[in-house]
Structures are given as C-alpha cells and as structure tokens.
C-alpha cells in the first residue's frame, strides 16, 4: 500500500460498471477525463459516499472511508470531502455566507460566520455575503460552491465539471483562480472534466476513464507522448496512430510502415516481425521547408500529397497522404507557415518523423479497444 494521501479502488458491475484505481498525493491535482458516460462523476460520488459500489476501498490519509472487505462504509457526513457539484447545488434559500456557515460544523455561530467571511474573501466575494445564489452570476456561484466545499476543512477536494456552466471568458478566469487557490491547500484534488485542454492546464496528472475503467494515469506530457494504447490515444483525440512491424534493416532495428523503414530511438525488445501499433505526437512531425533544406530532414523523411488543408485560426490542420504507405498523417502547422510553404490540396510536401517521438504501444494491432 502506498503512502498516497488518497487511495481509491472501485469495482462494480451494475448499474454503472466501474474498475478504477487511483492514487492522489497531498497537493496534487488529478484530472479524470473521458467521454460522457465514462463514469467520471460516479467515481467522485463513490469517493464522497453518495454512490455505493459492489466492492471498493477508499482511504484518505490514515482514515479508511470505505472497505467493503472489512464492512467499512462511512456515510458522506463522516468523510471529510469538499464536493463542488456541476450545477453547484447551492442552497437557494440561504445567502452566500449562510451557505458556508452551515457547512462549518464546529465553533460558535459568531466564529463560524467569521470563518465563512474569510473564505468568501479568499474567493474574492467580499461584499456579496448577503446575496442569495440567484442574485449571483454563474462565476460567483461557482466561487461560493468552491468556498463551501472548503468550509468544512476537507481532506479531499472533489470538483465535478466545475467550469462547464459558465461562459468561456469566466471559465478561463475561474481556472486561473483554481490554479492559484490550490497552492494554498495541501490536500488531494480530483477534477472531473471532459475538456482535455482544461485537464492539461490544471492537472499534475490525468487519468483517462472509459466505460468506468481507468485506462491510463500519467502526467499530461506522458499521456500525450506515450499513450498506453491506441484506444487511449483516440480518447485523447490523437490522430497519428498506425500499424507497423518491427524489422531488422541495415543492421539496425527499424519500424516498417508500408514501404518505409523508420529509425527508432530506443530498442523495442520485441521479436522482429512483431506487428505493433505506434503513434507519433504532432510536435514530433516536422514540416520540411520548401527550398530550404535543413539537417533534420534526413530523419525519417516521409513524402506525400496534401489531401486536406483546414485553417483553424492561427493553426492549420493538414492531412498528408503518404506516398509509401496507405496511411495519412495529420499535423498542425502555423497558418502562416502553411501559406508560405504553399500547402494546399494536391501540393507535394515532405515531413520528418522525429525518432524520439515514435512511440510503440502494443502488439495488439489496430483493433484494440
């Protein structure tokens, strides 16, 4: 058993299938990402004690909140969790201040009101203490919800899509505030979101969830550079996932991709001839500049024809139909670079696949899912 501040193991078959293993350290923010219906919110609810699972184990610090094996199942009131609901679930008949006062469970009323006032000030809501939730904007309501979740002195902070109900401008501001706030609270934080960008911006680690299973947990960089399987890569919205085989060519190990033999950074330790799925992140596909060859171009050059060129603001999404394979590469280039290099449907182009970016995933082939 590790010394993590929060350890969560959940298994359930019905009604919502779950197979989740999580560990979060104090002060760490873990983002749970996955498509809707993947069980993200259910995991939070199970940690808070609002959802019963068939078997499960939840330990927070030295306290065991749930251990079905030993028959331990603490009620939500007994688990010190701060939970921010997706719709905030503020008590509509109570002022912002009283929403917090109610959640502070010890001390005189005067002291509790003082504490609540301080917390509201911490989320920059001073002067709005007496407003009812409906008299507050969406962003202000969210701050009250965060402050209320912290009011009880929680051991764990759980955030269920806390930014989904506000407009984009407010969202960015609230995300910034959360990033600042978390520096001052040394407890495990779990953020549920379906927004990958949000997860990357805020989380120390990301856990990818699908159909109730935690598929991979890692730093954003690890996940985006080394997804555990083609399935994870697809869930993360990655495009360049292909099938190839490990071969020996020119006295070295190579990745056979169609007629191409790609150089690899590290030995795979796989028997030669093994069919593998592999992936390369966008950042390791380098576009060859027209008429200005550079040294890097000798590294795994791939030639092809531009099949599609979609400008999306400052970035342009380019699909390159490769000449020596049946696959197409998708890459994002700066729109001005795309224009300068004459990238348009039908144009010839070349890219380099950097060795360090080629990530061999598994031997299951493309059908893994």
């Amino acid at each position: 058993m590790s010394a993590s501040a929060l350890v969560v193991e959940l298994q359930a078959g019905r009604p919502i299938p779950l197979d989740v293993h999580l560990q979060v350290d104090s002060g760490e923010l873990l983002a749970l990402v996955g498509p809707s219906g993947s069980g993200k919110s259910t995991v939070l609810r199970a940690i808070a004690g609002l959802h019963r699972t068939r078997t499960g184990f939840v330990r927070c610090g030295a306290e065991t909140w749930l251990c079905t094996q030993r028959g331990i199942r603490l009620r939500p009131q007994q688990r010190r969790v701060g939970l921010v609901f997706q719709d905030y679930a503020l008590f509509p008949h109570l002022s912002a201040l009283d929403n917090l006062v109610l959640a502070i469970d010890s001390g005189s009323l005067r002291w509790r009101r003082e504490q609540a006032r301080e917390l509201l000030a911490r989320v920059r809501l001073e002067g709005l203490e007496d407003r009812l939730p409906r008299q507050l904007s969406g962003g202000q309501q969210q701050r009250v919800a965060v402050a209320r979740a912290l009011a009880r002195g929680p051991r764990v902070l759980l955030l269920d899509e806390p930014f989904s109900a506000v407009d984009m401008m407010t969202r960015e501001r609230l995300q910034r505030e959360l990033a600042l706030l978390r520096r001052s609270i040394r407890i495990p934080i779990i953020l549920v979101t379906h927004d990958l960008q949000e997860a990357v911006r805020l989380a120390d680690r990301i856990c990818v969830l699908h159909n109730g299973r935690s598929l991979q947990t890692g730093t954003p960089d690890t996940l985006f550079r080394q997804p555990a399987s083609p399935h994870v890569a697809r869930l993360l919205g990655r495009h360049n996932v292909f099938t190839g085989s490990v071969v020996r060519a020119d006295g070295a190990e190579r990745l056979a991709w169609g007629a191409l033999r790609l150089e690899l950074e590290k030995p795979t330790h796989l028997p030669h001839g093994t069919t593998v799925s592999w992936y390369i992140p966008d950042s390791d596909i380098v576009l060859h500049r027209r008429g200005r060859p550079s040294l890097g171009e000798r590294e795994n050059p791939v030639h092809g024809t531009v099949a599609e060129c979609v400008p999306l603001g400052a970035q342009t999404s380019v699909t390159l139909r490769c000449r020596h394979t049946d696959d197409s590469l998708r890459l994002n280039v700066a729109t001005h670079a795309a224009q300068r290099n004459g990238l348009e449907p039908g144009a010839e182009a070349a890219v380099s696949l950097l060795r360090k970016g080629i990530h061999i995933m598994d031997t299951a082939g493309p059908g893994d899912g």
């Binding site: 808070a48 004690g49 609002l50 009620r75 939500p76 009131q77 969790v81 701060g82 939970l83 609901f85 719709d87 679930a89 503020l90 008590f91 509509p92 008949h93 109610l102 959640a103 469970d105 939730p133 409906r134 209320r148 979740a149 009011a151 009880r152």
Partner: protein, 223 residues
C-alpha cells in the same frame, strides 16, 4: 348565526390539520423520494377522496366505524365510546377525506427539491435530520402552507361525509356547513345567508393565500 356550529367547525379543522400536516410531510416526502412497486397504487388510494362522492365515502366510514367492525371496536376498547355520531368520529373522517389535500401539495413541493441539494448538505456534514430542517423544510414551506390552508378550509366546508358519520348533533357533530342546511330547511334564510357569507369569505381568503404562495414559489424556484 349558529356560533356553536362555527366554533365546532373551527375545532374540527384545528384537530384535523394538526394531525394531518405531520402525516402529509411524512407521506409526501416518502412518495416524492421513493421509487417502489405499487407507488401508483398508493397515490391513487390517497387521491380517491377527491373523486369519490362524499356520501359513498361517508357510507363506508359509517360502516367501518360501527362497533361490529375492527376500527370501531378498536376505538371502543381504547376509549369506551363509539366513533359514529361523535366528535372523534368526524375528526377521523376528516383526516381520511383530507388526505389528498394534505399530501399532494407537500409531495409536489418535495419533488422540486433536487437530489443534489440534499447530497450537498450531506457532504457539508449535515445529518439527515438537519438536512430536513435546514434545507428541505424551508424549500417545501409553500407546499406545507398550501396543504394547511386547503385542509383547514376543506374541513370547515365538508358536508356529506360529516353528515353521514356524525349526523347533526348540536355541539358534538353539527358543523357550520350542516347548520346552513339545517337553517335552509327551517326557512331561516337570514341565518343561512350570514353563515354562507362567512364560509364564502373564509374560503376566498384561504384560496387567495394558496394562489399567492403558488405565484411566489415560481419566483423562488429551486434551480
């Protein structure tokens, strides 16, 4: 003006509402939050007094209150009196025919309190009991007032069931509604008119309160 009958009606309404409101809260909350087989059946049984002719309901109550039947027997063994033609009998009858008025508004009110709010209260450390007092009850309060007013007024105005079960015994079971009928039979139009006007006013004020609260509830609706 039969003040004895009026006082009796008020007493009957007070007894009925004070017994029914806790029942309404318990049953209304249970029906709003529980999902079980036969829930529709329970709701239908509660709504039955709304559609049943008062004489039919009164007849069945009269029969089951008789000392030959279990309910009547039980009451007699407890108090030594019969239920029929007694004040206790018309209180019990009022409780039964007012069940839908006491339960339905409270149930509808509980149904508008989202599950999330109760869960948020639990996660804020509030016990089930404190969640009820601090969160649920303040939010369902308009429904409770509606139930109270409807039950009170309906009890004062009920004629058929009370007459069947209670007869028209002065000072015991003769309520103001029965007194009006009695006065009309005796061609005492003046007294009948005065009492009718009084009932009209009481009913109008009560219904105005309910509609006023219903209007306000839209404004303070729970998200």
């Amino acid at each position: 003006m039969d003040w004895t009958a009026f006082r009796l009606s008020l007493e009957l309404a007070a007894w009925t509402t004070s017994i029914l409101i806790p029942i309404g809260l318990l049953v209304g909350r249970w029906l709003a939050y529980s999902r079980f087989r036969g829930r529709g059946f329970v709701e239908a049984a509660i709504a039955l007094p709304l559609v049943l002719p008062p004489t039919v309901l009164g007849y069945y109550l009269l029969v089951s209150f008789s000392t030959d039947m279990p309910v009547g027997q039980l009451w007699q063994s407890l108090t030594g009196d019969g239920l029929n033609f007694s004040f206790a009998g018309i209180v019990l009858a009022s409780i039964i025919f007012n069940l839908p008025f006491a339960i339905q508004p409270v149930q509808r009110a509980f149904e508008t309190v989202p599950m999330h709010l109760r869960e948020a209260a639990w996660c804020s450390g509030l016990s089930g009991w404190r969640t009820f007092w601090r969160i649920e009850l303040p939010l369902v309060w308009p429904g409770v007032i509606s139930a109270f007013v409807l039950t009170f007024v309906h009890t004062i105005g009920e004629f058929g069931v009370v007459l069947m079960v209670g007869g028209a015994i002065d000072g015991e079971t003769k309520t103001v509604a029965i007194a009006i009928y009695d006065r009309v039979q005796a061609f005492d139009d003046e007294a009948a008119g005065a009492m009718s006007l009084l009932l009209l006013l009481v009913s109008f004020v009560a219904i105005a309160i309910v509609y006023g609260l219903a209007g306000r509830r839209k404004v303070v609706s729970v998200r």
